[in-house]
């Protein structure tokens, strides 16, 4: 039986890898992938807490399920917008996304 | 509906009338009708008030009415007047009336000008009839904001800068006031916003120590409390005539009124404790304003600094906290309001002709515009406290009242304050000598004309008011000193 802490360590690492990726990637798609990592670490957390701490109920699992759905929807919209950007400027580099500032 | 509310309703109706007015004549018609109605209303009120008092009415506030407004917050629309408010209303009505004539020839955006002007009047009248902290504060702010546009759009000189500075500083003051009002409300147990009821509740002294200075400074900003007075010279210099009149004449009085009615009345213990700080500030202000006026070169700046000096005297007298000095303070508000309005009216008329306010560029105006010049001399003499005009009785009441406080500190300050009457004479006479007397320096000025009827009327009204108050002060003094008493007895509790 694997300890709960191990799962949590994994999810935490995923979380911060995601955050790190978000902060450092230059490509919008890569950033999107990093966000997915963050969201997935959340899913793991919910599932693990449910499984180990509150085995009698399903709240955590359901939350994970919905979270997965939501993140899918978000990704879809995000990709659509990124495609739109690509159509506009033929480029999806973050550095080109700073016309709005100040 | 209490008839006091008419003071607010009439200007509102005037705004409505202006909205539908089609041309300049209709605008003037609306304004004259409305302003006259206000004047009549104020006089009627004064008469009714006197009759009530003569009939033995002893309540602190008369003609009171209170409508629940925001029940959960204990906010009422509560009105009522005592002697102080009556004279202030009278003053406001006179100044509004004369202000209308002083801006008779307003060319640009006449309708809009008068609409904001009316809004300003709403605030002023509303403030003086209210006896509920919230309502008072609301009207107070209503009176402040139209200033921005009135100065910014219709002003002269560095109007944008001045307008912004004035508005922001006064709003800063009102932020302090709001803090103070909240402090009073919660300090008194969060049960009422009514002035008279609050006065019966002892606010804990620790609260007072925090909120008295906030409230006092807040109102003091408008009352030209040193060192928060710097909006005044710039603001008044840039404002159009009628606005300067109303602002210096009435609005600055809101400050003194608020200090007296709210800060000292509701927080007497802290007031007594901390009065010395503000006494020093106001004492400085009295002399400082007068000295500053001595070397100014712009007519309006001179008058603005003079206002600083005189309004500081109001606060000074309030802080002396004797019945006589407070009566004097109110008289001084009344008197300064009339005088400064007269000054600004004349300056505006002179400026309208010479297109300069620099005293170095004018001389010998007595020859070309004798009427205006004579009025100016009268205003100047009134300002330096000549007996027979209102300034004298106000200052004397203040000095005698202040001298009642028997200790070295207060005495010294009183004597310092009295020196202002000499310095006032210095700058007034310097000005009169330079600008009005002598030979005409600028040949172009020889072509100028004297005042027209619409200019003469407000000047005459103001001079009559100043002289009337100066020659027959006993009635006013009685009304005021009776009404000052509740505050003074509050201090003795």
């Amino acid at each position: 039986m694997v300890q709960m802490e191990l799962y949590l360590i994994v999810s935490t690492i995923m979380m911060f890898v995601g955050i790190y990726g978000f902060f450092t990637r230059r490509n919008l798609l890569a950033i999107l992938i990093s966000v997915e990592l963050i969201l997935n670490s959340v899913d793991i957390n919910f599932a693990v807490f449910n499984r180990f701490l509150f085995p009698g109920q399903l709240e955590g699992f359901f939350f994970s399920l919905f979270a997965i759905g939501i993140s899918a929807a978000e990704t879809a919209v995000a990709i659509a917008i990124i495609i739109n950007i690509y159509r506009n400027i033929r480029n999806i580099q973050v550095k080109n996304m700073n016309e709005l500032k100040g | 509906m209490n008839f006091l509310s008419l003071f607010v309703l009439v200007p509102l109706l005037m705004m409505l009338g202006l909205w539908v007015a089609r041309n300049v004549n209709q605008v003037r018609g609306v304004m004259v009708a409305g302003a006259s109605a206000l004047l009549v209303l104020a006089v009627t009120l004064a008469v009714l008030y006197l009759r009530e008092r003569a009939g033995g009415a002893t309540a602190e506030m008369l003609f009171t009415a209170s409508h629940v407004w925001y029940a959960p917050l204990n906010i009422h629309y509560a009105v009522g007047v005592d002697g102080i408010s009556v004279v202030m209303l009278l003053l406001s009505a006179i100044i509004v009336f004369t202000g209308v004539f002083a801006s008779w020839k307003m060319q640009m955006l006449t309708k809009e000008f008068f609409m904001w002007f009316c809004l300003l009047s709403v605030g002023v009248f509303g403030f003086f009839i209210s006896v509920d902290l919230f309502t008072m504060f609301m009207f107070y702010e209503v009176a402040l904001i139209p200033m921005y546009l009135l100065i910014g759009v219709w002003g002269s000189g560095r109007k944008e800068y001045s307008a912004m500075k004035l508005t922001l500083m006064l709003m800063g003051g009102s932020a302090f006031i709001l803090m103070g009002i909240l402090g009073i409300y919660y300090g008194a147990g969060a049960t009422t916003m009514s002035l008279t009821e609050l006065a019966r509740i002892h606010i804990p002294v620790e609260w007072q120590r925090i909120f008295f200075p906030l409230t006092f400074i807040g109102f003091g900003v408008l009352g030209a409390l040193f060192p928060f007075h710097t909006w005044s010279p710039d603001g008044h210099a840039s404002a159009p005539t009628a606005v300067s009149m109303l602002h210096a004449g009435v609005l600055m009085k809101l400050g003194g009124y608020g200090c007296f009615r709210i800060a000292i009345y509701l927080m007497p213990e802290a007031a007594k404790e901390q009065a010395w700080i503000f006494l020093i500030l106001t004492g400085i202000g009295v002399v400082y304003g007068a000295f500053s006026a001595c070397v100014q070169k712009d007519l309006k700046y001179i008058n603005a600094y003079s206002s600083v000096s005189h309004c500081s005297l109001v606060l000074f007298a309030i802080l002396m906290m004797t019945q006589t000095s407070s009566t004097g303070a109110v008289l001084q508000m009344l008197s300064h309001g009339l005088m400064t309005a007269l000054f600004f009216a004349i300056i505006g008329m002179i400026y309208g002709r010479t297109h300069t306010r620099d005293i170095r560029e004018m001389s010998g105006l007595m020859q070309v515009m004798p009427f205006l010049s004579v009025c100016y001399v009268i205003a100047g003499l009134a300002n330096l406290g000549l007996p027979g005009f209102s300034g004298f009785i106000a200052e004397m009441t203040i000095f005698v009242g202040s001298f009642e406080v028997n200790d070295v500190f207060h005495r010294t300050l009183t004597i310092i304050a009295t020196t202002s009457i000499v310095i006032t004479a210095v700058y007034i006479l310097r000005l009169v000598g330079k600008v009005l007397y002598g030979t005409v320096g600028n040949p172009a000025h020889l072509q100028l004309t004297d005042a027209t009827w619409d200019e003469r009327l407000p000047l005459i009204v103001l001079i009559v008011a100043i002289a009337g108050l100066g020659l027959m002060p006993w009635g006013f003094s009685h009304i005021i000193s009776d009404s000052v008493l509740p505050v003074i007895s509050q201090l003795a509790r």
Binding site: - | F226, T230, L386, P387, F403, N406
Partner: protein, 630 residues
């Protein structure tokens, strides 16, 4: 005595009528309105005086103090109030007579003198205003009413000095007069405040036990009040405004700056006399020293002035000094034992008003004739202006103290009082009296004798006698000057109210007459001829002294320095700078700091989504840290 209200009401109405209608009235009509009202006032004043003094004395042997009117004008505290009313006692009645007489003469005289001047109506309006104020001052029932009218006479003086408002000198002089007296009035006001607080009343008759409790405050109050009086009465060092005030029309100088307003300070001290004697004798003596010094100083300066009105102005200062000295040397309220000065002072006030007004009116006639104030432009005028000459001579003799003219009697009483006080004071005052005679005759000779009139120099203009409207007042005043000395003044006015017989003290009288005659002789020797070798030699020998005296001992320069350098440069300008740059600068700097901060932080909004999220996360973590730590 109810009619006394018209004493004030008539001039006031005339002021309002003439002042408000202004140029709508024809000049003559305006003058007539003013003159008639003053004539009525004069008649009323005489009637009042007659009724008052014939009403008989009270049980205590003094004339009753009447108060036909007194109402509360401005209530101040529970005990203090400013009242307005009319108080009749010997000195106020005496003053009524003096003021109305001189005023009436000046009104009549001005018809001729001011003929054709622009602003004739204004002139008469101001004269009426002045007369009203001055009458109000003397009938004041309390010190505050006195102060009220005191200010009003000040302002009428200001307006009248500045009557020729196009003349820069007139403007400056009027300003100076007002500000200097105003400064002095500050002392008066503070004195009143102290008096009011400690005496518990503004009336002249406070309760004795209250005063006794006041301790040193009462002398202080009285001293400060005297400062006010000194300002109005041009005592050193507050005298500087009076010579300059001669820029006003000459009749005005006669009325205000010779006969009436300037003696207000004397009147004030006389009015407060019981209090001075009772609670501040040392202050009273101080006034005597001030008065004596002023008298001397002014007399010396008068000896070298060349402007005839200036000479008269310094003479006025000197004579007021006499009056103040007379009051100041009093040591008790009993005229027989040290209180003689009170009566002497009032008597001198009375006679001086007449002959000094006469002198000024003569000077006016002369100036009217030669269009100049300078002695250099005159000389030999006695042929052209016989009436003026005669009346001027009478006045000169009076002021020099030659019997039987009025000045002799009153000055003699003063000298007697001074000798009673201290011999050196008597000697000093006698010497000054001699100086007076000297400079007055220097003036007289320079105007009417000396070199023959040089018409060519004056542009072919031949001087001529003044019109009737001007000479009639001269003659009237000269007549009064001749006879006034025989009035049994002590029967009307004395320090304790009892009748006092004026009896000349022979040694004093003799000395003074001899001194005066010697001085006149000296003046005759020095100035009668066309060439004045002695005077010129003296002037060159004592060049420094002469110049200093001519420049009035540089007191004006000191004032200039104080006002311009200190008040304007060293106080006002720095304060104005401070206000604009420090106080206002602070407010502006608040705005500046806000703006600068705004500019600085703009870069934080970089437009980079990754920075945004870093701040997002960083902020969240910071909040966690804050919450965990605190």
């Amino acid at each position: 005595m109810e009619h006394t209200i018209f004493l004030l009401a008539l001039p006031f109405l005339s002021f309002l009528l003439v002042g408000l209608l202004g140029t709508c009235l024809k000049p003559k009509v305006a003058g007539l309105v003013g003159t008639l009202s003053i004539a009525a006032v004069a008649v009323l004043a005489y009637v009042t005086a007659f009724l008052y003094f014939t009403a008989g004395r009270g049980a205590d042997g003094a004339f009753a103090t009447l108060m036909p009117y007194n109402f509360t004008w401005l209530p101040l505290t529970e005990t203090l109030k400013i009242e307005m009313g009319i108080l009749l006692d010997p000195i106020s009645v005496m003053m009524l007579v003096v003021i109305s007489t001189v005023s009436l003469m000046v009104h009549i005289y001005s018809f001729g003198y001011m003929d054709g001047e622009r602003g004739f109506q204004r002139y008469y309006a101001f004269l009426s205003l002045f007369t009203m104020s001055m009458l109000g001052l003397v009938v004041a029932t309390n010190i505050f009413q006195m102060y009220v009218f005191w200010e009003l006479v000040g302002v009428s003086s200001y307006l009248l000095i500045g009557f020729y408002y196009k003349k820069p000198e007139a403007i400056a002089a009027s300003k100076k007069a007002f500000i200097v007296t105003r400064f002095a009035d500050l002392g008066f006001l503070i004195g009143i405040l102290i008096y009011g607080y400690y005496a518990g009343t503004f009336t002249f008759t406070p309760q004795a036990q209250v005063l006794a409790a006041a301790g040193t405050m009462m002398p202080l109050a009285l001293g400060l009040m005297f400062v006010g009086g000194a300002g109005k009465s041009a005592m050193f060092p507050l005298h500087i405004w009076l010579p300059d005030a001669m820029e006003g029309p000459t009749p005005v100088s006669a009325l205000i700056h010779a006969a009436t307003m300037v003696v207000a300070g004397v009147y004030l001290v006389a009015r407060m006399f019981p209090l001075f004697i009772g609670y501040g004798p040392e202050v009273l003596h101080l006034t005597a020293y001030v008065g004596a010094f002023t008298a001397l100083f002014a007399a010396v300066v008068a000896c070298v002035q060349t402007d005839i009105k200036r000479v008269l102005a310094f003479s006025t200062i000197s004579q007021i000094g006499f009056m103040i000295v007379a009051l100041g040397v009093c040591t008790s309220a009993d005229p027989h034992a040290g209180g003689l000065g009170y009566m002497a002072s009032m008597f001198h006030l009375f006679t001086h008003a007449m002959f000094k007004a006469l002198l000024f009116l003569c000077a006016g006639a002369i100036i009217h004739a030669v269009h100049s104030n300078e002695m250099a432009a005159m000389g030999g005028l006695r042929k052209y202006m016989p009436v003026t000459h005669a009346t001027f001579l009478i006045a000169c003799l009076a002021i020099a103290g030659i019997p039987p003219f009025s000045g002799f009697f009153s000055k003699d009483e003063i000298l007697a009082a001074c000798f009673q006080f201290a011999p050196w004071m008597g000697v000093l005052m006698t010497f000054i009296a001699g100086l007076t005679a000297f400079y007055m005759f220097r003036l007289y000779y320079n105007i009417f004798w000396a070199k023959p009139y040089d018409a060519a120099q004056a542009g072919g203009h031949t001087p001529h006698e003044a019109p009737k409207s001007m000479t009639i007042p001269l003659v009237f005043l000269a007549a009064v000057t001749c006879v006034a000395g025989f009035i049994p003044f002590g029967h009307f006015v004395s320090s304790d109210g009892q009748a006092y017989d004026i009896h000349l003290s022979l040694p004093v009288a003799l000395t003074s007459v001899v001194v005066a005659l010697v001085a006149i002789g000296l003046a005759t020797w020095m100035y009668k001829g066309a060439a004045q070798p002695v005077a010129d030699r003296l002037a060159t020998t004592f060049k420094g002294l002469h110049h200093a005296a001519y420049r009035r001992f540089y007191i004006d320069e000191v004032y200039q320095f104080i006002t311009h350098k200190i008040i304007f440069r060293c106080i006002s300008t720095p304060i104005a700078w401070f206000d604009r740059h420090v106080v206002d600068g602070f407010m502006n700097s608040l705005a500046w700091v806000t703006n600068a901060a705004s500019v600085r932080i703009r870069g934080l909004q970089s437009g980079n989504i990754q920075t945004y999220t870093m701040v997002f996360l960083g902020g969240a973590l910071l909040l966690v840290v804050i919450l965990l730590l605190f």
